[in-house]
């Protein structure tokens, strides 16, 4: 099971935090700090996997760097490291499709949308979707529906068909 998905920037500031088993806020922060500490000490050209006690027994961490952001997934031994690595790829591809050339600020300002995307990919700590086009389709459905009740008129970003939710 996936325990958490975390996105932090290279300064250690959290950009997206989602824990699939509940952790109190303090514990979340502690984990984020630890993760950041571990990732900073990692050299380049090493593996994307970390085994460290700070995440709990038998848990592992896979991280991937995209520009200024670390994408981190913490999971237990019922998942496959390499596959999780590709899962992150899917996540980022999807973000890219939604935001168009996604950057850190897109995630900061639209993290509610990012959460929606993540919910389509991972549900209850399990990977339920591996196709970014399917995720985008699901998002489009939601977006279309939201347009119906015209109670809210918003200024969309350059990406068509999506608003902050």
């Amino acid at each position: 099971m996936i325990r958490a998905v975390i996105v932090i920037n290279d300064q250690g500031k959290p950009r997206l935090v989602k824990f699939y088993d509940y952790q109190p806020v303090e514990k979340q922060q502690e984990i984020i700090r630890n993760v950041y500490g571990v990732l900073c000490s990692r050299a380049e050209n090493v593996s994307n996997f970390v085994q460290d006690s700070t995440f709990g027994p038998d848990t592992r961490l896979v991280y991937k760097t995209f520009a200024t952001l670390f994408f981190i997934v913490i999971f237990d031994d019922s998942e496959n490291e390499l596959a999780i690595l590709d899962l992150m790829q899917v996540f980022v591809e999807t973000l890219d499709k939604c935001f168009g050339n996604v950057c850190e600020l897109d995630i900061v300002f639209n993290f509610n949308k990012v959460h929606t995307i993540l919910d389509e990919i991972i549900l209850g700590g399990q990977v339920v979707e591996m196709s970014s086009s399917e995720v985008v389709k699901a998002l489009d459905d939601i977006t279309r529906l939201q347009k119906n009740p015209n109670s809210i008129v918003r200024v969309p970003k350059s990406i068509s068909g999506w608003q902050g939710r």
């Binding site: 993290f111 979707e129 902050g164």
Partner: protein
């Protein structure tokens, strides 16, 4: 870019994010956030906030909480927002709630109603949102409120809803299996859903169910294999492909499930071989995801019943992983190598260089994984190299958790494979010095025991050399600051016991060091207790040896301080020491015999040695004993009377014997514990940290008349039997003499001893051939992999590898086990099994269990009977408990006692040589009798309190 307001958020939020982004310090950031919290608190409670505004507030709350600040004041507004009709607001509300609340939060109850309503919605997206929330928010109590609706949704026309309903049910199952148990069939049903996504979702709950119990799901093997086959043959719609790999996560999950189902099940495994082979052949090794599936296949192959063909394919795949430049793949290669090595132990050899490379890789993750692999492939031929490496690594890391793990692995490997005791001690010293507080305290006891027992051979020289080297290394280390407590205990004990043994160091030098320790670690009572007892021993040994023994001034003052200590244990030790100061050399020699730590303690639970006494008393008209169960109030009187009789006015030692052992013996000394038995109590001092003979003030009388049998001897000693099981070489067992012959010869002590000697002299030879560490990888590799001895399995399975001697040693072990196991019923003296205190996780440590679980580990095998023999011989000499008692209890006995040492000279010497176990006087017939008792599988006891509770209920 952010300040342009192009993200659909208000200027305020953009400014907030921007200012936090520009904050130079954590405190500055905190200030900004706190200001924001104040603003939100004020605004959010204003009346008539436009919904859109409220939505933004909620998002800002989420943001604040993500930064680690408390946003609980706004939770209720998030809950309210879930009630909103607009799906946009509803989703925002649900999102915030799932992030804010845990399943036990008080507010959950307010959401359940909304979820119920939303699950009924016509709009499938609303239903999906509600199901998402179900996964996170529904707790055990609220499951019944929604479960019916969720089950109904399993039949929803939209596959997205069905998929999420399955996931919701899965999360219910994780939280409270009992409330969903009747619905498990739904998971199986949904396995045949038309939509592959829904089918894939059912694999998660099924995987969990199969992890819990494989058996009810064995019938699904064919289905799973069939699904996997279809997936692998690309029968799924194209949109399930990822980089040309069909539905990778479904494949991975299926392979994981098959690995569980096929484990140890030949029939199921055979169904899988074809499809796994196909997948491996087709797998795309150029892509990441292809390798992920390949990795999963190898895991599956190593878990199910082995198929030679698949193992070969797996080995090839592993070779490719290891050859890769990618660290990720190398990591996977090392991981799979560790899995496969259990099945085909030879596989590592062809990858030795790759493994060494990984060991020296700068990547810490890879390094750890490699150490894990080395741990799995350790055998006696490479243990030195591996443990040295592990210790170096242990020293270099700071992570306490991993340090502990590495330390315990070092200890485990050293105990299991140590080539020599000297090496073992040196290794343990290193582990203790660098991770002393992290290792199991048992390890310290084991180390002391080893030093006390030495090589267990007739070689007195090597024993004393071993001890001397231990003493020297400890004298060197002891001055270093901040040593771990457990290590100091070992140091104190060894210095006390052997510090002055060979005369190289003077008593005052050792005493000075010990006083320094007690002073430097004055906050550690356990260390002080060890130190003061060690001081006492040093003093006693000096005095007993006829030298002028005087206390150092600092020792005097230490005693004074301790006798006023708040710790009753320390007080008692101090008082005991002071009492000893007044005794003459002869008495001291009996209280504190030199090098007597290996003596066995034995409890004759039936107290047969009292028979004569009881008989005599009965003849003289004494009341017969009435068992406790049949007794009424009559006992009280005698109890009081006894109490008075035994009352002693001072704390000083009491050497007079008790007149009559009665059901309750009141004791005055704090750490003296009384364990009532059926007949007569046996009083034992349980002074926790001491494993050396301490003065025993309140010993129950061991009747002198029966002293010859020695069966009642009880003394607190480090228990030493069985220690050699851990060390040595397989050749131990090569002695042609079967255990039976030892068994016989032990009865005649002298022969028995010589017999052992010949046995023991053998294992030394192979030690010289041990490979030494070399800087070059080749050599390192050779030392790691070169040994042909295949690694035998650790604890659990114990499938010994194909060593030529295995079968013989196993039989050998069985031979000896039988005599050990059977006669327990015969002997009257019931003894508890040896405490696992000293066995360190070897479940088969006690002799009786050897019969059932014959540990095929040949080294152990060879040693088991050896140690048995040693025990037998060693224990054949009675410990000096009774003699001590008799000394003081009955003057008449002095005459007979004086003969004891003489008797010893003849009969005991051999056994003294063998294991250096013996010390103190004994009687000849005691030898025979005790040897017999030993042989029958009666084990000596230690003073471990748990042990006694085992024994006596």
């Amino acid at each position: 870019m952010g300040s342009q307001g192009g993200f659909g958020q208000s200027k305020e939020f953009l400014d907030l994010v921007k200012s936090i982004g520009e904050a130079r310090s954590k405190s500055e950031e905190d200030r900004i956030v706190l200001r924001e919290i104040e603003t939100l608190k004020r605004r959010i409670n204003e009346p008539d906030i436009p919904k859109r505004k409220m939505k933004e507030y909620i998002i800002r709350l989420v943001y604040i909480e993500m930064l680690g600040h408390d946003a609980s004041f706004g939770y209720i507004h998030a809950v309210k927002m879930t009630h909103d009709d607009s799906i946009l607001l509803k989703r925002t509300g649900y999102l915030a709630v799932t992030l804010f609340l845990n399943e036990d939060h008080d507010l959950i109850i307010l959401i359940v109603n909304t979820i119920q309503k939303d699950l009924k919605s016509d709009n499938y997206l609303v239903v999906c949102t509600a199901l998402n929330a179900c996964c996170k928010l529904i707790n055990e109590e609220t499951i019944p409120a929604v479960i019916q609706q969720v089950v109904e949704l399993l039949g929803h026309p939209k596959e997205a809803v069905r998929k999420k309903a399955v996931m919701a049910l899965h999360s219910f199952h994780q939280r409270s299996p009992s409330s969903v148990n009747h619905l498990i069939s739904n998971f199986r049903k949904k396995l045949s859903d038309n939509d592959p996504g829904v089918m894939g979702a059912t694999l998660f709950p099924l995987y969990d169910l199969i992890t819990i119990d494989v058996n009810p799901h064995k019938d699904l093997v064919a289905s799973f294999v069939n699904i996997l086959k279809q997936v692998a043959e690309r029968r799924l719609p194209k949109n399930y492909d990822y980089h040309q790999t069909p539905a990778p996560f479904i494949q991975i999950k299926l392979l994981k499930i098959l690995a569980l189902l096929g484990s140890g099940d030949k029939k199921s495994s055979e169904q899988m071989y074809t499809v796994i082979g196909d997948i491996m052949r087709k797998s795309d090794t150029a892509s990441n995801i292809g390798n992920a599936i390949l990795y999963e296949c190898i895991c599956c192959i190593s878990s199910i019943q082995p198929s030679p063909k698949l193992l070969e394919t797996a080995a090839d795949a592993i070779a490719n992983f290891l050859k890769s430049d990618s660290h990720n793949l190398k990591y996977m290669g090392i991981d799979t190598l560790g899995r496969l090595i259990r099945i085909s132990p030879d596989i590592a050899e062809q990858h030795q260089i790759a493994v060494i490379d990984c060991l020296e890789d700068p990547d810490d993750t890879l390094k750890r994984k490699t150490f894990e692999l080395l741990y799995k492939m350790t055998k006696s031929s490479n243990v030195e190299v591996i443990v040295d490496r592990m210790i170096d690594y242990m020293i270099s890391i700071n992570d306490n958790h991993y340090k502990t793990e590495t330390a315990s692995r070092c200890v485990e490997l050293a105990e299991q494979f140590a080539p020599s005791n000297h090496w073992f001690i040196q290794t343990m010293n290193k582990v203790f010095q660098h991770a002393g507080d992290l290792v199991n305290p048992k390890v310290a006891h084991n180390l002391m025991r080893l030093i006390a027992e030495g090589f267990g051979e007739d070689d007195d020289m090597s024993d004393s050399q071993l001890r001397l080297s231990a003493v020297e290394s400890y004298l060197k280390i002891v001055d270093e600051p901040k040593l771990p407590s457990a290590f100091l205990q070992v140091i104190c004990w060894v210095l006390g016991e052997y510090g002055t043994a060979d005369g190289k160091y003077s008593a005052s030098y050792i005493s000075g060091k010990l006083c320094d320790v007690a002073e430097a670690y004055s906050s550690d009572d356990v260390v002080k207790a060890y130190a003061v007892t060690a001081l006492m021993k040093v003093y006693c040994f000096e005095k007993a040896a006829g030298r002028k023994a005087s206390l150092l001034p600092e020792c005097q003052s230490l005693l004074e301080v301790l006798s006023a200590s708040h710790s009753s244990d320390l007080q008692q030790r101090a008082y005991e020491f002071q009492a000893i100061l007044d005794l003459d050399a002869n008495a001291i020699e009996n209280i504190m015999p030199l090098d007597a730590s290996c003596e066995d303690i034995e409890i004759d639970k039936s107290l047969s040695f009292l028979d004569n006494y009881v008989l005599k008393s009965l003849e003289q008209g004494a009341e017969p004993y009435i068992p406790e169960s049949e007794r009424s109030g009559t006992l009280n009187i005698s109890k009081i009377r006894n109490h008075n009789a035994y009352e002693h006015p001072t704390h000083s030692l009491r050497f007079e014997a008790y007149e009559v052992p009665k059901p309750v013996v009141p004791t005055k000394i704090p750490s003296t514990v009384t364990y009532p038995t059926d007949i007569v109590p046996v009083t034992v001092i349980v002074s926790e940290p001491s494993y050396q003979p301490s003065v025993q003030p309140s010993w129950p009388l061991v009747p002198v008349s029966d002293a010859g049998s020695g069966s009642g001897s009880t003394e607190l000693k480090l228990r030493l039997d069985g220690v050699q099981k851990k060390w040595g070489k397989p050749t131990y067992s090569s002695g042609a003499s079967s255990s039976i012959s030892n068994f016989e010869s032990d009865r005649t002590t002298v022969n028995g001893a010589t017999q052992i000697n010949t046995l023991i002299s053998k294992p030394r030879e192979p030690r010289q051939s041990n490979v030494e560490v070399s800087e070059e990888k080749q050599k390192l590799a050779a030392s790691l992999f070169g040994g042909k001895t295949s690694r035998s399995k650790k604890k659990q399975s114990g499938g010994a590898a194909g060593h030529s001697k295995v079968s013989r040693t196993t039989n050998h072990g069985e031979d000896k086990v039988q005599p050990a196991a059977v006669p327990v019923t015969v002997t009257t003296a019931v003894q508890p099994p040896p405490p696992d205190l000293l066995d360190l996780g070897e479940p088969a440590g006690d002799t009786s269990s050897y019969s059932s679980t014959v540990d095929p580990f040949k080294q152990l095998e060879g040693l088991v009977d050896l140690s048995q023999d040693v025990n037998a011989t060693a224990s054949a000499t009675t410990s000096n408990g009774p003699d001590l008692m008799s000394l003081y209890s009955d003057a008449d006995l002095n005459g007979s006692l004086n003969q004891n040492p003489n008797a010893m000279n003849g009969s005991v010497n051999p056994s003294k040589k063998t294991a250096s176990l013996t010390k103190g006087p004994s009687l000849k017939d005691a030898l025979d009798k005790d040897a017999l008792v030993r042989q029958m599988g009666v084990n000596p006891t230690s003073q471990n309190p748990n042990l006694f509770s085992d024994l006596l209920g």
